[in-house]
Symmetry: C2
Subunit: 422 residues, 2 copies
């Protein structure tokens, strides 16, 4: 099996100054094309360590992917190390990357300075994959000779997440071309609302009836739900594999119904957005305990302005009353975390904005509750053409995590309301 | 120098299913007490790999910290591997951890099931540090004998971030007690508003005048600004080191003024919250392009409800007009991303909620702008007892990152207004 080591280079990640989000994306893509990740490693900016370490990884893996260490500052020494490690004899200039760099720097009102021209230079022992959104190209080194009879390939990618993610498809394409990988075909089915064990129980007959060469993996995530990954390894041809998996998903659909929210990798906020866009309908939000998180999630989706009108975050009770029309008596009688307040909040923001639908939250995210509801409780409201509905949920996490879980639960409740009209 | 290897165990992180946020926190704390991180490594759930790998790391490091692999499911095999690796002869029950586990499970409405009792079991070759917020205790193994003449220590921590962070101080305390670490004393000074190079230029005379045993590090972060870390290694006694660093910060303060937002590790949202709390004043927010991110950040701070009243996220222009009182003519004349609209939004939400201060954003987070302003532009407004002020900023990131940078810039602009009244 083709193996890979995924490495980050740089003191920033080693000493915990920044969190590494890059290698998760890289590993997931590699895993998806049938490459086995042997390990992920972060090392510092020391040249001796970089050289020794990369050589070792090349000796014991088919693929080595590095991120980071390609920047213009003196700390970033990876390129020089790669020059030496790969036995280069001179530096070449990528004219195409230099042209991109001039444009990027110009758009930022900067002149092309020497440090950034040198970004487009690369060792003559390697090849370049263009970086279209940054100034450091991706470098590819194909090793061979006595020391490397297994012909490992090293891909050096920039460390800026946006640049890594943009360049990743090109790297994956190169890997697929140069390595004999199993024909592997996946589909991800995203579910929300059933715990792994409950889901497993519900689909057991379907799982048992799966063809022998089809593999199912459960990938649970407390925020995004359980992802079901259906795979065929070593399929003879992709078209028929694709068709066979689609048939199985067809059979799964009536069993799980709207528990499935995406048959690709879409997020809940994306799915809700697509639903609204397709119907030409609009949405507004009233948040209390989630404090803006639902609005934030919805507006990370490009094009959200076509269906998302706006929101009111009403932390203080008077704001609930004034901007959302929640009645003081309702709060007094049922408590601020209650079905009744959630309903009035949803109705209030919908009437204020004139949106087709609205969703609201009121809850205790912290480690305390009140006489009506315990800590970790949220009441969610949705309002729309089919009336107003509410839902109660309780979680046992810390403040930040509870907020995130409340928001995910609210988006799902809204999705079900839009789909089912009830 | 004392060295450490920080490891995560589990396929979830190796194949990129989840992002590792734990080891950044662990590494930062280790770095802070003068331990050098040699590398960070993620490996999978395979017992053979875990055993071989941990032995190697123990041979070449003084400290090995693992996170993950201690859960109740069959996939989590670390504890068994540690049993074998450390030459244990039997399992012991931590009565104290078992009592905690019963309470945790009871509060979640679950009976104590066998899988979770076994969570409180540990190899007799190790010691336990209690996990007060989860069911898997921290395991400590002190290695010695011919194979390990340098007496390395392995700390096995649970993988749930909340549990890792809660247990971390106890682990750090144990390390300080058992290793001869340099007396190292740090202070972090958080700055916002000057790029690293500009900051460096401004404080050069101060840096040159620093005593020879005092070390300054620049730790830039596009969201939180440049952190300055002032350290003394091998100080004779902590009290005098503390005093000497405080004196230098005293000297730095007039040079940087309000560019410094914290002399500890506080976030902008925390600092703004503390300012308001101290003055008994309140805040409201009007967001357009940031879509709820500012409210979300403010409400992640425990106790935010004492000063944060609420917000309006007005994505659609009619919502800006109706809920915030923005005039249609203002939008028409100056464009929706303009100083004038930012000002009216800030004034509108302040008058609606009756808050002492308000902050607003209107901008283009995406890769397009309009005839008034280019992509990446934000106008920020603040309103309060000293009138209304606006600020323009431009960033060149992708949508998600631009939103985060807009929000940070808005929080800082608000902070300066509260502090300076102008």
């Amino acid at each position: 099996m083709t193996t890979a080591s995924v490495c980050t280079i740089g003191d920033e990640i080693l000493i915990g100054q920044i969190i590494d989000t890059n290698t998760a994306a890289v590993s997931e893509k590699l895993n998806g094309i049938g490459v086995r990740i042997s390990r992920k490693v972060s090392i510092g900016d020391d040249p001796e360590t970089i050289r020794t370490f990369l050589r070792e990884e090349l000796l014991s893996n088919d693929i080595v992917i590095t991120t980071g260490g390609l920047g213009p500052t003196g700390d970033d020494l990876t390129k020089q190390c790669l020059y030496e490690l790969s036995g280069a004899r001179s530096w070449l200039l990528s004219e195409e990357q230099a042209a991109i760099n001039r444009e990027i720097l110009h758009s930022r009102g900067l002149d092309t300075i020497s440090g950034n021209v040198s970004q487009a230079m690369y060792p003559d022992s390697g090849e370049v994959i263009l970086n279209k959104v940054g100034t450091a190209p991706i470098l590819v080194f194909r090793f061979s000779g006595e020391e490397f009879p297994h012909h490992p390939v090293l891909y050096a990618m920039p460390g800026v997440p946006h640049e890594t993610l943009t360049a990743l498809p090109k790297v994956i394409e190169d890997i697929r071309q140069h390595f004999k990988l199993p024909t592997i075909y996946h589909r991800n089915i995203m579910t929300y609302g059933l715990a792994e064990s409950a889901l497993e129980e519900k689909i057991t007959p379907w799982v048992k009836a799966l063809p022998a060469d089809m593999h199912l993996a459960y990938l649970p995530n407390t925020l995004t739900g359980v992802r079901l990954r259906l795979s065929i390894y070593d399929a003879e041809d992709e078209t028929s594999a694709q068709k066979r998996i689609a048939e199985q998903i067809e059979a799964l659909r009536p069993i799980l119904g709207h528990v499935i929210y995406s048959e690709n990798d879409d997020t809940l906020e994306h799915v809700v957005g697509q639903l609204l866009k397709g119907r030409g309908e609009t949405l507004s939000v009233a948040e209390s305990c989630t404090g803006g998180e639902i609005s934030h999630l919805l507006t990370t989706v490009p094009g959200a302005s076509t269906y998302y009108l706006g929101s009111v975050t009403s932390y203080a009770v008077p704001v609930k009353e004034k901007l959302l029309g929640v009645h003081a008596e309702t709060v007094e009688k049922f408590g601020v975390v209650s079905s009744e307040v959630a309903a009035e909040m949803a109705e209030g923001v919908r009437s204020q904005t004139g949106s087709t639908y609205s969703v609201s939250t009121t809850g205790w995210a912290d480690a305390y509750g009140d006489e009506h509801e315990p800590a970790g409780t949220v009441w969610i409201g949705v309002s729309g053409p089919h009336g107003t509905r509410t839902l109660r949920a309780v979680y046992h996490n810390d403040r930040r995590r509870n907020i995130e879980r409340f928001a995910a639960a609210a988006l799902n409740f809204l999705r079900l309301y839009i789909l089912e009209g009830k």
